[in-house]
Every structure is written in structure tokens, then in C-alpha cells.
């Protein structure tokens, strides 16, 4: 586990900070970030610490403050309060060459050729155009788009254009890649490819931060997440620690329906058809098992299921945020 558990108190002055247990240096660090628009707090005291080389997810429903947080981390906008540091720098533009950013709203110049678009995005980060074109050609070839190198962006499909933009984000070989809702608008195959790409980046030591409202992407990819809801970050830390916040669920099926053994089950046991479900007791499963056997419950099956990130999200961010997250997943994004 690379990132320790951390819960923001919302009080910037006293917030305890996540310290990476493996002592990797921090790629991104934010303390007490606050941003208001027209008197409304869009982000309210966000604390994040992301170690170098991590894949880190910013998880929350639409409108939670993910994009504003990312924009503050990247220096596109300045926070009203709080501090942010990227590779130790207060001004991310000073180390722009180390950063790659894919915004949520994908955009490219329609009349530009693919190879030029990628090279231009590299040039924005300090990569000479000639080298940018060379790398762009290699990247396009590697990702199966070599044939489209000299096509104009307007001639590409949406998926191809998104790939071109992603390659433009990576062409200067950044050490930190920030992706805002990168899976949005991609079909399942391209989502899979993107997951592979993110993993490959991390294997190369690149820190990847992405925002998402799809929990399973974060769960599959991330070692750390920040759960964000209503502009606040109620949890920032490792995925494992988030899951550990919810006790494992015991799922029990018995032959007997009644008996004295029923009193041995925890008070918050729920009956779900033929199954009993209840949180794993703090004392462990062995004492309960003994009682069930002695009470002749007739155990047909018993499984202990670890809580998923979704359960953790519900527990941490609340039912309302979870419902909104599910609603966001149902609706295609604009």
C-alpha cells in the first residue's frame, strides 16, 4: 500500500496530511484549496497528497469540484485560499514541460493535421517542433493511427480525435499526466486501451491523476483516491484503506430456518432471501462459526466479502452523492 489513509477535517489549519508510507516524494501536494465562483464555494478546503509514480483517482459525481480542483493543481486558475505544489513548485507553469494535461472538453484545431496537432501540443510544453513531429509519427504508428498522420482532425472520428489528443498530452514525455474524465465518450474497447496506457505510464514512473465518476475505473487502476463531493474531500488516501473503512460483509446460508443459534447473529443482520448478511464481527468469524455449529444451524455456505470502493464511497460521501454518481453513470455526458 503506497498511500496512507487520510481524512480531511475541512479545517485547513489543523488538517492532518497523508504521508506516503513508502516515503516516495510527492508529485502533487495541495493543502486547504478553496475556490469560490460568484460567492459559491466550488471547492472547499481540499487536501491531497499524491506520491510520484502513483495512479491516483479524483472520484466524485458531476459538479463535485473535480475539474476545478485539477485546474487549481495545474495552475490554470489560482485558488482563493490554500497552497498547491507540483514537484515542489508553487507555480505549475514553471514546470510545464513535466506536465501533460487532457481536459475534459476535448479540443483540437479542426484544420490541423494529426501529426502537426501532436507536435504543436508538444511545442506548448517546450518540445522542438521537429522532434515533436518525429515523436508524433512514432506515437501514431504505435497506436495504430500511422495511416492518419497527415489527415486533418476534422476528418477523424471522435474516438480517433480523442486518441490524437491523448498522444498530444504525452508527446513531450511528461512526468505527471493529468486526465480529466479520460474515459468519458470512449467505447469499451478504447476504455480498455486507455487503462493499459495508464498502467504503462505508471510502470515508466509517470504519475497519473485522473478524475472520474465511474468507480470501477478508479478501483481497477488507482492506488490512491480522493473522494470529492460538494467541493469537499471527505477522504483522500489509498483505495485499500477506503475499502477497509467498511467492515467485510458475511454472507451466510443455513439449512435450518429457526433456532437458538439465530441469537448469535449480529444485531444488524439483514435477511436477503435464503441468505443472512451482516458485517464481519470485530471478534472475527471463528466464535460465530462455533456457535452456529453448536446450535445446529446447518451451514450450507459462508463467504466473507470485502467491501468494494462503491460501498466505501457510499459510506464516506453519503447516499446522496452515491445516487448522483450512479445517475451520472447512466447519462451520457455532454
Amino acid at each position: 500500500m503506497a498511500v496512507s489513509d487520510h481524512t480531511s477535517s475541512g479545517n485547513h489549519g489543523t488538517a492532518t496530511f497523508a504521508i506516503p508510507v513508502d516515503a516516495r516524494p510527492l508529485a502533487v501536494e495541495a493543502r486547504g484549496l478553496v475556490k469560490s465562483f460568484d460567492g459559491t464555494r466550488a471547492v472547499d478546503g481540499v487536501d491531497i497528497a499524491i506520491p510520484e509514480g502513483a495512479i491516483y483517482g479524483i472520484l466524485g459525481p458531476n459538479g463535485a469540484g473535480k475539474t476545478t480542483t485539477l485546474r487549481m493543481l495545474l495552475g490554470i486558475i489560482d485558488p482563493d485560499e490554500g497552497v498547491r505544489r507540483v514537484f515542489g513548485h508553487d507555480r505549475p507553469h514553471d514546470i510545464g514541460r513535466l506536465i501533460g494535461y487532457l481536459p475534459e472538453e476535448r479540443g483540437l484545431y479542426p484544420a490541423m493535421k494529426c501529426i502537426e496537432a501532436i507536435a504543436f501540443m508538444g511545442a506548448l510544453r517546450g518540445l522542438p517542433l521537429k522532434e515533436g513531429r518525429k515523436r508524433a509519427a512514432e506515437l501514431l504508428e504505435r497506436h495504430g493511427l500511422g495511416y492518419a498522420a497527415n489527415r486533418q482532425i476534422r476528418q477523424l472520428s471522435k474516438g480517433m480525435a480523442q486518441t490524437v489528443q491523448l498522444l498530444g498530452t504525452l508527446v513531450h514525455q511528461p512526468r505527471l499526466v493529468v486526465l480529466d474524465e479520460p474515459f468519458s465518450g470512449l467505447d469499451a474497447i478504447n476504455q480498455g486501451k486507455l487503462e493499459l496506457m495508464i498502467r504503462a505510464l505508471a510502470e515508466d514512473g509517470v504519475t497519473v491523476i485522473f478524475s472520474t465518476h465511474v468507480i470501477h475505473h478508479a478501483e481497477r487502476l488507482c492506488e490512491g483516491v480522493a473522494i470529492i463531493a460538494g467541493g469537499k474531500v471527505p477522504y483522500a488516501g489509498s483505495v485499500e484503506a477506503a475499502r477497509d473503512r467498511i467492515p467485510a460483509q458475511v454472507r451466510l446460508e443455513t439449512r435450518a430456518r429457526e433456532g437458538a443459534w439465530l441469537s448469535a447473529l449480529p444485531a444488524d443482520t439483514r435477511r436477503n432471501g435464503d441468505f443472512f448478511q451482516f458485517p464481519l464481527p470485530a471478534t472475527g468469524i471463528e466464535p460465530l462459526l462455533r456457535q452456529l455449529i453448536e446450535g445446529e444451524a446447518g451451514i450450507l455456505s459462508l463467504s466473507i466479502e470485502r467491501a468494494g470502493l462503491h460501498d466505501a464511497f457510499v459510506a464516506i460521501a453519503g447516499e446522496a452523492a452515491a445516487r448522483q454518481l450512479e445517475a451520472d453513470n447512466q447519462e451520457p455526458r455532454a
Binding site: 495552475g75 486558475i77 513535466l98 517546450g126
Partner: protein, 425 residues
């Protein structure tokens, strides 16, 4: 991953250059720009064609008059010689006309007559055909000395073997008349500057709207400081403007070469007789280019800020109207102060950044001092930087305020549009 090939952090100039290079190439090689260039050339082409035809038909008629102030007999001999040569030489010889005032005044002083700007003569010939004297401005003497010598030689003999020696007398106008005539140069320069600025600065207006429509603005804002984006766009558009001016200038030059005389006749205005500006033509033209750049950058920076704020072309048009009216007002202010040198009004026109280039260009036509231009240019450059900084700050504050999900269009005037999701992500 290696980042060896990546240069150190782009400084503001380098970042602006990346933007300027892309925008310049993109605009220059777009079809829209071709039409933009060709648009003003259609009337120029038609006018040139008409001027060329008119010029050929009436070349004789448009010849400028040179006055004759010799004796009546010598005048007649000169005119007869002109009539003999004209069919062979056409417009190369000037039309000769006896000066009536000289005939009636035995003490006629051609130099005083010219300096008083009486009559409508390019130059006046006195003396005799054997020893003519040509009085006029330096330019006119240089232009007509040869033809007059030819006519005088022909007037002295049917088969001249040698040209008579022509004495020349250059007319210099008085300081008062010089100032008076330079006002014309100042006015024309101001008008030209205003027209070019208004015509070309509009291109900047829609630039950032397009950028926002392409949704690429956030990539730019994330990679480089917003003021570098603004600067890059401004200088790209300035470069494109110079291309436009070069094309239109070349067309105008060609038109003048073909039908200049006809244009002079039709308009009653001879561009070649435009009084020289106080700083001299080369420096005046150089200052004209610099002040155009400054006027363009100042107005462009304002338009760019508006373009950055607006979401639609309609919003751009609505918001740009006050700026256009402001620009008209500052132009009128600068024009009004031309004949009030050193007045409080002129100082105000110079101090206000938007009118400063216009007022200072007029000053270059009227006054020879150069240090004032250095001062004004520094002030204007500061104003450009200030507007760009302010515009980029406004852009960061107003535009980058919500993610895609929560974006709700906010009207500029009146109450905010209802939007439960704004501010959003």
C-alpha cells in the same frame, strides 16, 4: 522517460512565439483570409482599370501646367515649341500656360508668386528661351528641368544643336505655410492609420471565440500563461495584418503607376505634392509602421479580451460596439488636436493610450522632435502589456470557472441565468 529533448521552461516570449507561429500560419493559409485580402482589391482593380483607360485617353489633359512668365513673344515661341514636341513626347512635356499676372505686372516676381501659392502652377519659367530660369520646389524643378530645356531649345531654333543652360531657383515655403501644408499630411496619415486599424483589428475579435469553440483554450491555458497566449495571438494577427497591408499597398502602388495621373485629375489631389512631414518621409513612414503596430496591439488587446469573454459571435458583436465607438471618439479627438500643438487637448490625446498613436503620428508630420516619440512608444507599450495582463486575468477569473458538466451560460447583463450546477466541477 527521457525529457532530454525538451527545452527548459518556455519563457513568456517563447510561449507567445509558439502561439503566434501557429495562428499566423493557420490564418494566412485559410481560404477566409484569401477572400479577406481580395475583398478590397475588387474596387481597386475596377478603379485601376477605369483610371488606366482614362489616363491613356486624357493623358495630355491631365498634364500639370508650368507657367510662363517671359515676354509675350517668348511665351508664344515656347508654347509653339511645346505644341510641336507634344505629339512626339506626350505626357513627358508639361502643359505650358502664360501667367496672366506676369503679363500685366512689369515687376512680376515669380518666386514671391510661387511662395504665396497663387495660381496653380507646378513651376514658372522666366527669362528667355535662350536663357530660361525655372522657379519651383525642388521636386518640381527636378521633374521639369529636362523637358523645359528641350522646349526652350526648340523655341530658339528649329534644329537645336545645344540645350540652353537653365538657371533654377528653389522655392522654400515659409514656416507658417509649411505647418499649414503639413496638416494635410498629418490628416491623411491619421485617416490611413485609423482605417487600417479598424479594418484589421477586427480579425482579432473572433480569434478567441473560435478557440473556445474548438475547446482548445484550456490546453493552451494549462501549458503556458494566459498572457503569453494573448500576446502570441496579438502578434500573429499583427503579422497577418502586415501581409494584408503589403498586398493592398502593392496593389495601390500598381494602380498609381498605371492610373496615377487620372486619379489626380479625378480627385483633384496630387499625392506627389503632399507636403513632406517634419521628420522626413523615411522616418515618417517608419513611425507610421510602428504607430500602426501600437494602435493595432492596443485595440487588438481590447478586442481579444472581449473575444475571450464572449461565447458567441453575437455576443462579440454586442460587446465590441462600445469599443468601436470609443475608437471613433479617440480618433476624432486626435484629429481635432492636430492644429492645437502643445495644447491640453493634444496632451490628453497623447496620454490616452488608444488615441496616442494617432496623435503622435500627426505630431511626426508637424514637429521634428524625436524624443517625444520614444516616450510615447514606451507608454503605449506599457499600456498594451497592461491591457493584456488585465484581459488574461479577467479570462482566468470569468471563463475558467466550471467543468463541462456544470457549464451554464452566464449573461453579461442583467441577472444570472439559473443554473444549479454552476459553479461546477
Amino acid at each position: 522517460m527521457s525529457t532530454d529533448m525538451i527545452r527548459p521552461r518556455l519563457n513568456a516570449l517563447e510561449a507567445a512565439w509558439v502561439i503566434a507561429r501557429r495562428d499566423f500560419v493557420a490564418v494566412l493559409f485559410s481560404r477566409a483570409f484569401l477572400f479577406f485580402l481580395l475583398g478590397p482589391l475588387f474596387p481597386v482593380f475596377v478603379g485601376g482599370l477605369a483610371g488606366s483607360i482614362g489616363g491613356q485617353v486624357q493623358r495630355e489633359a491631365v498634364s500639370i501646367d508650368v507657367g510662363l512668365a517671359m515676354s509675350a513673344g517668348d511665351n508664344a515661341a515656347m508654347i509653339a515649341a511645346h505644341d510641336r514636341l507634344a505629339p512626339q513626347l506626350g505626357g513627358a512635356v508639361p502643359a505650358l500656360r502664360a501667367v496672366p499676372e506676369a503679363a500685366s505686372d512689369p515687376t512680376f516676381n515669380a518666386r514671391a508668386f510661387m511662395e504665396a501659392r497663387r495660381g496653380n502652377y507646378a513651376a514658372i519659367v522666366t527669362g528667355t528661351p535662350a536663357a530660361p530660369a525655372l522657379i519651383g520646389t525642388e521636386g518640381q524643378i527636378a521633374r521639369w528641368q529636362g523637358p523645359i530645356g528641350l522646349i526652350a531649345a526648340d523655341a530658339t531654333s528649329a534644329a537645336p544643336t545645344a540645350f540652353p543652360v537653365i538657371t533654377t531657383e528653389i522655392v522654400t515655403t515659409s514656416a507658417a505655410s509649411e505647418r499649414s501644408s503639413r496638416i494635410q499630411t498629418a490628416q491623411i496619415a491619421q485617416m490611413l492609420l485609423f482605417l487600417l486599424t479598424m479594418l484589421l483589428a477586427g480579425m482579432v475579435l473572433s480569434n478567441l471565440v473560435e478557440e473556445k469553440a474548438n475547446k482548445i483554450i484550456e490546453i493552451l491555458a494549462a501549458a503556458i500563461p494566459m498572457d503569453a497566449v494573448f500576446m502570441g495571438k496579438l502578434f500573429a494577427m499583427l503579422g497577418v495584418s502586415f501581409v494584408g497591408i503589403a498586398v493592398w499597398g502593392s496593389a495601390a502602388w500598381g494602380l498609381w503607376a498605371v492610373g496615377g495621373e487620372a486619379i489626380t485629375q479625378v480627385s483633384g489631389f496630387d499625392l506627389t505634392r503632399l507636403p513632406a512631414p517634419a521628420v522626413g518621409w523615411p522616418l515618417f513612414i517608419a513611425l507610421g509602421v510602428i504607430y500602426f503596430s501600437m494602435a493595432y496591439l492596443l485595440l487588438g488587446a481590447l478586442f481579444l479580451t472581449i473575444g475571450a469573454m464572449a461565447n458567441t459571435v453575437r455576443e462579440v458583436q454586442t460587446l465590441s460596439m462600445p469599443v468601436t465607438m470609443l475608437q471613433l471618439m479617440v480618433f476624432f479627438l486626435a484629429a481635432f488636436t492636430i492644429n492645437q500643438p502643445g495644447s491640453g487637448m493634444e496632451m490628453a490625446a497623447i496620454a490616452f493610450p488608444l488615441s496616442s498613436p494617432f496623435a503622435m503620428l500627426a505630431r511626426a508630420a508637424m514637429e521634428p522632435q524625436l524624443w517625444t516619440h520614444a516616450l510615447a512608444l514606451a507608454w503605449q507599450a506599457l499600456a498594451v502589456i497592461g491591457i493584456v495582463k488585465g484581459g488574461s486575468l479577467l479570462f482566468r477569473k470569468r471563463v475558467m470557472k466550471s467543468g463541462g458538466a456544470g457549464r451554464v451560460k452566464q449573461p453579461w447583463f442583467g441577472r444570472r441565468a439559473p443554473g444549479p450546477l454552476e459553479p461546477a466541477e
